[in-house]
């Protein structure tokens, strides 16, 4: 799999826009986003839900690695 998209250190809504852009680019497939706040993790999870992407979250220390699939 490609490197995760790095959205660490970015404040809302930038992590969201990064994820959204990737979803629109891929249409189908799998990609990962790395974020470092719970708010960004929740936001992207909600976005994924509303655009019918499956999402799984793995906590890595202070960071969250989200895997999005469709």
């Amino acid at each position: 799999m490609a490197e995760p998209k790095d959205a660490r250190g970015l404040l809302c809504p930038e992590p969201l826009l990064i994820a959204k852009k990737e979803m629109e680019r891929l249409v189908r497939g799998t990609f990962q986003v790395l974020v470092d706040t719970a708010a960004a993790m929740e936001n992207i999870s909600r976005l994924a839900g509303s655009l019918k992407w499956e999402v799984s979250v793995e906590q890595q220390g202070d960071e969250f690695l989200l895997t999005l699939k469709r």
């Binding site: 998209k5 790095d6 959205a7 660490r8 250190g9 970015l10 404040l11 809302c12 809504p13 930038e14 969201l16 826009l17 990064i18 959204k20 852009k21 990737e22 680019r25 470092d36 706040t37 719970a38 708010a39 929740e42 936001n43 999870s45 909600r46 976005l47 839900g49 509303s50 655009l51 999402v55 979250v57 202070d62």
Partner: protein, 371 residues
Amino acid sequence: MVLLNKKAVIILAGAVIGVTALILVRMGNPPNMGFCIACFLRDLTGGLGLQRSDTLQYIRPEIPGLVLGAFLASLFTREYRPLGGSSPLIRFVLAFFTMTGMLVFLGCPLRMLLRMAGGDLNALVGLFGLVAGVVLGIAFLRKGFSLGRATVLNRSNLYIFPAAAAALMVLLLARPAYFFFSQQGPASLHAPVYVSLAAGVLAGILAQRSRLCFVGGIRDFIIFRDLYLLYGFAAIFLTVLAGNLILGNFKIGFTGQPIAHSDGLWNFLGMALAGYGSVFLGGCPLRQLVSAAEGNTDSAVTVLGLAAGAAFAHNFGIAASAKGVPAEGKAAVLVGFAVIFLIALLNCKLALKKGVQAGGRTEGCAGSSVS
């Protein structure tokens, strides 16, 4: 994730904050001002003598309470992060003019909602302005606007903001002679200190848990038709509306509304400026307080920018009053639009492509690194 539970959390948070706002007004806070982050920061700057409007000086305990509540919640959930370095000075300037806009309208997005729930139709005009400002800001976000990445800082950064809030509370209780406390006007109207403090702590905990944000709500709806944050919005509005109807405080109309003016154009433009600036800051003043309490020092600088904006607005006759919007206020809003527009241009991918750099990034804005 437990999104269903989250929805319940934000509706509960909104309803509880709504009830708290009603109680605060009942116990002494100004009408339609149970909570107002902009107004309370302004009163706080007055209490510290940073602006000398003798009707707007009081250390509102709701503000330090909110910060302490959010800080405790973030400690408990381990969501605190000492972060910083995402264009702090630009954030200060954005916040400064965001506050200018809010004080020309007379309220932050939270008070706008409380005013609407009291029947103040001027606040509805403000809502249209806020939405227009957010839409304008999102256009720049889509073009790649970014203030750059924050980095993780030394843990000691985490404690400064909550410590300042605690110090303010201690000073308020000690009431030293060099603090200013209004004897008349809006700031003389307040609930008992402990009630305000408790209300602030409760609201801080709930806002931290639910990520309640009014600008974020409008933004997320526009970007991906997400209603999550707007549920909180709706819960506050409906709770306070019901409370006002029961208590007989509901009075619909444009004129004679408490601590409000009916200059529609400037209600619209003031809130539009607030929305425009807040989108770039990543949230409304309430969200900034919570985020600062969680350790985000960029949000802490934003709060300082809001406070500075309030102090300037009242020292230089920019802020509106029930009498209307002064010429200085109108000029300041126009200057604010010009400054924020320039900041927006300079921090977009388009500008970055032409050689302007921000935040040490060379590849452009967040958007460009994934395209």
